[in-house]
């Protein structure tokens, strides 16, 4: 049963990591990245590395999305300004 659990979490990490690369829009990518972080946290816990899993959860669940979305907002606002000037 341990092998099955490891296999399932590895597959989930592979699937969500592929999706994180394949999705092109940064806002949507941030969402996939959050889910990838959750999958990674499960994988780390399954291979008995809860410290690493906790780091992943702490950084990935709120901090990384906030940084990405703030950057997206800044870039979009700059785009709007430049669009208005021309």
């Amino acid at each position: 049963m341990t092998d099955a659990l490891t296999l399932v979490s590895l597959l989930l990490v592979a699937a969500s990591a592929t999706a994180a690369v394949a999705v092109r829009d940064p806002a949507r990518q941030a969402l996939v990245l959050a889910v990838l972080g959750l999958a990674l946290a499960v994988l780390f816990t399954v291979v008995q590395a809860p410290d690493v899993g906790l780091s992943q959860l702490a950084v990935g669940s709120a901090l990384t999305p906030l940084l990405i979305l703030l950057s997206v907002r800044k870039v979009r606002r700059r785009g709007q300004h430049e669009g208005g000037d021309r």
């Binding site: 049963m1 341990t2 099955a4 659990l5 399932v8 979490s9 989930l12 699937a15 969500s16 999706a19 394949a22 999705v23 806002a27 949507r28 941030a30 969402l31 996939v32 959050a34 889910v35 959750l38 999958a39 946290a41 499960v42 816990t45 399954v46 008995q48 809860p50 899993g53 906790l54 959860l57 702490a58 669940s61 709120a62 999305p65 906030l66 979305l69 703030l70 997206v72 907002r73």
Partner: protein, 153 residues
């Protein structure tokens, strides 16, 4: 053979597999709902894993996720309010499913743990998780009405 481990594997495969699909495809509304539901699923998986491995300290992962996960969804609800504004996602059914699953798992673990400080912690995690999930769903369905492009909050 360990029942908790089986439960964790089944929950991970049946609950988180669709979440990965839901977040990778489809409109933005569906993706945020999938992310919010995924937080609940993984929090419950962490609880089951701590019971399966007989490591009470692994519960801390579920605690941190129950605290930060809904905060993460609120970040999306706040900063993507413009994009979600036209057709805010309503996922009442999914919220009810997550809340009932959380209740069942937390109660089962409390029974298995017996009275003590560990049980109080489990109940706290359960309450934080359910409350956070409900609030995050409500926020996605229109919790930030004025956070549009016109206001710079």
């Amino acid at each position: 053979m360990n029942g908790w481990l089986v439960a964790a594997t089944v929950l991970l495969a049946a609950g988180f597999g669709p979440v990965v699909w839901g977040v990778a495809t489809g409109p933005l509304e569906r993706r945020v709902v999938a992310q919010n539901f995924g937080t609940s699923v993984v929090c419950l998986v962490m609880l089951l894993l701590s019971q399966a491995y007989v490591r009470p300290s692994y519960v801390d992962l579920a605690l941190v996720l129950a605290v930060l996960g809904p905060a993460g969804t609120l970040v999306y609800a706040r900063l993507l309010a413009d994009d979600l504004g036209d057709d805010p996602p309503h996922a009442n059914l999914l919220t009810v499913v997550a809340a009932s699953a959380a209740t069942v798992i937390v109660v089962a673990m409390c029974v298995a743990t017996g009275p003590g400080r560990a049980t109080v912690k489990l109940v706290l995690i359960g309450v934080l998780l359910v409350a956070g999930n409900v609030i995050a769903s409500r926020a996605l369905a229109g919790g930030f009405p004025g956070a549009g492009a016109s206001t710079r909050d």
